[in-house]
């Protein structure tokens, strides 16, 4: 029950964030300068998420395993080269598994 309550609280807060720019009306008034900046959100957020998963244990800085770093870089480069997101796993996991055996 308490777990569901935590999820409900988190979901409620998250929903308010999701609708924040709809309710405030800010999103509808964005000019071309701001819409150009919107295109930078995805790369910024994605790299921040990847960096936190590699270099942070919650809020503590950690030295990541070499296999993790190489697999992540290989996945990003493979997708960039192929244009297919599915390739991230096709390349990333084998790299991770093989380096895990070697290192």
């Amino acid at each position: 029950m308490s777990a569901l309550l935590v999820f409900a609280l988190a979901a409620g807060g998250t929903y308010l964030i999701r609708i924040s720019m709809v309710v405030s009306g800010v999103g509808e008034r964005l000019d071309s300068t701001w819409t150009a900046r919107l295109s930078l959100i995805a790369p910024t957020m994605l790299s921040a998420i990847v960096a936190s998963s590699l270099f942070l244990d919650r809020t503590d800085l950690i030295l990541p395993a070499a296999a993790d770093v190489v697999a992540v870089i290989a996945a990003a480069l493979a997708v960039r080269r192929s244009g297919s997101l599915a390739v991230a796993f096709v390349v990333g996991f084998p790299v991770y598994w093989s380096l895990g055996l070697v290192l």
Partner: protein, 234 residues
């Protein structure tokens, strides 16, 4: 516009959404399994975990929430940590509100429910001025259904089998690999690369001090740095 062309346009939006979202939905399977496995490891029941996944619709936040609970954080600490991780959705919300400005507000409030990283990336890549609002809504709803369906289908699988898989499988790598793949696809210009590097550096350096707030702060700094480059390049 004839009735036939309206039907074609609608089928086109749904069909294109399925085609575009498939490569994004595939990586969701191991990621959802990783979240399911973490939920099981936190001794949260399958029903509560699955319902939580369905209402939260944010895998990384659910991971943080369960980790906080496991490490002894209280109810509000766990919910607060998850909300902070999702603070980045405010920026996605700006894009969402812009793309769906012509949709009635009550409908937008419903449509915003499944707004996640993958959706934002997809819409940013797809929507142009040529797409009218009904096409956009149909595309978005279809893509959402596929993404949410994949996430909620594989979550119980991870919950049930995730913790009996050998540790070498590296289910926990599913998230980083999926996001790295999306990053590889999102970086197209020098400004994107600079914004990405800026965001990564800030989140790593700021997390020990700002904790969950580091992610939204990194987003603001990364976008600001990249935007300067866009300005310089015209």
């Amino acid at each position: 516009m004839t009735a036939v062309s309206v039907v074609d346009r609608r089928v086109g939006a749904a069909g294109q959404a399925v085609r575009d979202v498939a490569p994004l939905a595939l990586p969701i399977a191991p990621f959802a399994m990783a979240v399911g496995a973490a939920t099981a490891a936190a001794d949260i029941s399958l029903v509560a975990g699955w319902l939580g996944a369905a209402i939260l619709l944010a895998g990384s936040a659910q991971l943080v929430l369960t980790e906080t609970l496991v490490s002894g954080g209280g109810l509000f600490a766990a919910a607060g940590a998850a909300i902070l991780v999702n603070a980045r959705f405010a920026m996605y919300s700006a894009g969402f509100a812009h793309w769906f400005a012509e949709v009635p507000r009550w409908k937008r409030l419903l449509l915003a429910i499944p707004l996640v990283d993958q959706q934002f990336l997809l819409l940013q890549r797809t929507f142009t001025a040529d797409h009218d609002v009904s096409w956009r809504v149909r595309y978005y709803v279809t893509a959402s259904a596929v993404l949410v369906g994949a996430y909620l289908s594989f979550f119980p699988v991870g919950y049930l089998v995730g913790n009996i898989l050998p540790s070498g499988v590296g289910l926990e790598m599913a998230g980083p690999l999926a996001f790295a793949g999306m990053l590889g696809s999102a970086v197209r210009r020098r400004a994107d690369a600079v914004a990405a590097i800026g965001g990564a550096i800030v989140v790593v350096l700021a997390s020990p001090v700002l904790a969950g707030l580091a992610l939204p702060v990194a987003a603001v700094v990364g976008v600001a740095v990249g935007a300067r480059l866009i300005g310089e390049e015209g």
